[in-house]
């Protein structure tokens, strides 16, 4: 217990001193995860919304597959992306292996199913309730899905935060495709794993605290932004919306 307390104090000290090593790792983590979330967010929302409003043969199989991918182990994603990007792989010519781009790709692959599956569920529920009325206005399938996404936009903030949380907290995929190279591809989670194995618990703990603090700040920011948007919208008089905030 005392070593944990000592480590916690040492971690606070590192944060207070603005240790450059610590902050470079934090910045790299944020860069990789923000890009991965942005890419997977755009693609996942488009794919999920399309899947929600279209009907085709084999859709059920695709939905089952998508929902299964929610539990995709990050090391498996890392391995697949590694094979794709390795010199003999189909994307080997890009030369991305052991780079930040490879880590972005791996995290994007990891969080894409999260965004797509949650979007599909959200848009499909909205379509069941209101799709007919949008269809009645003359909105075709594509436009209907876009309108439903726009209408449910505050829910997507939560979906994107969930995706970001999954991206920034994973360790397996970025470890495999990034290689955990100091000053180049080392991010918070891989650094925590490494420092723990080396016995440098203060740095590992400091990184863990920063990781939590980053996610906490982001959540506060997003919730505040959503509250503000709802107030601007004037939708606060809707009890359902009040419950959201």
């Amino acid at each position: 217990m005392s070593s944990l307390t000592d480590s916690a104090f040492a971690a606070m000290d590192l944060i207070a001193q603005q240790d450059p090593l610590l902050w470079s790792v934090v910045a790299r983590s944020l860069w990789v995860s923000v890009w991965a979330t942005a890419i997977a967010g755009v693609l996942g929302i488009c794919f999920g919304a399309w899947l929600a409003v279209t009907r085709f043969y084999g859709r059920g199989v695709l939905l089952t597959l998508l929902n299964t991918l929610l539990a995709l182990p990050s090391v498996v994603v890392g391995l697949v992306v590694y094979l794709l990007l390795s010199r003999s792989g189909p994307l080997g010519y890009l030369g991305w292996l052991f780079s930040l781009k490879a880590m972005v790709l791996a995290q994007s692959v990891l969080v894409f199913p999260v965004v797509a599956a949650l979007t599909r569920q959200c848009v499909e529920d909205a379509d069941r309730l209101h799709g007919e009325q949008l269809q009645s206005l003359g909105a075709g399938t594509g436009l209907r899905s876009l309108l439903l996404v726009w209408d449910e936009r505050y829910v997507f903030v939560t979906i994107v935060i969930t995706a970001f949380g999954r991206a920034i907290s994973e360790v397996g995929a970025v470890m495999v495709v990034g290689g955990n190279i100091e000053g180049f591809t080392r991010v918070m989670t891989t650094a925590i794993a490494l420092e723990t194995s080396k016995g440098d618990l203060p740095l590992a703990l400091a990184l863990g605290l920063v990781l939590l603090a980053v996610v906490l700040c982001l959540n506060i920011l997003v919730v505040s932004l959503r509250s503000w948007c709802l107030r601007v919208d004037g939708a606060m008089s809707d009890p359902l919306q009040k419950a959201w905030v």
């Binding site: 309730l129 209101h130 007919e132 009325q133 949008l134 269809q135 009645s136 206005l137 003359g138 909105a139 436009l143 309108l147 726009w150 209408d151 936009r153 919208d233 004037g234 939708a235 008089s237 809707d238 919306q241």
Partner: protein
Amino acid sequence: MNAQIETQPPISNSRELQLQLQGVDIQFGTHLALKQIDLNVYAGERVAFVGANGSGKSTLLRVIHGVLPFSSGQVHWQPGVQQAMVFQRPHMLRTSVINFVALALWLRGVPWRSAKEQALQALQQVDLQDLAHRNAKTLSGGQQQRLAFARALAVHPQCMLLDEPTSSLDPHAKREVERIMEHWIAESATTLLFSSHNLGQVKRLATRVIYLENGRILADLPTAHFFHQPLERSHPEAHLFLRGERV
């Protein structure tokens, strides 16, 4: 689905036939919600669909409107007929009242600027012009239904479909919406198809009443005949409905 919606009526008539349904069936799983519906609607008619809950009124309106695919049969619309529908519980998009109406016009090819001008005119028809820039979601139930009505009016429909437009409203809101509906009906020659549980409303607004039970049309009569002629022998189910024994 072997059913199809066509815009060319197969037969001609001295009165202007606007809509024709032939043998329309709709099946949800093993349940037949509409059975062999045959119906002709002529321009300017005001047709009320009445019947107990689950009789198929809303389903029939949605099939006619083209938002619900049917299992078999045919629906023919006269070419070029603009139709609009007001739903029982209108869904408000998270946007301003004026944009909500303008969207319906924009989706029909009206340029956005012009759509907003026309939207404002439609809002004036339902006394919502002062709320044009409010979020549509924040309106009361009655205001939302009036807004849905404005959106339908904005596209200048030749046929208006109303699915129990006042059933989910409180008495005050109901009166507001009815006042607007009656005013519009008095001034317009638009064909009106509506479903209602409110027989007083049916009496006031309809020229023809269609009674549905278990997805079948069991009576199709002029309003005066439906309410004032004995139906015991000719239409016993409709007679029981009017006596409040089929609710």
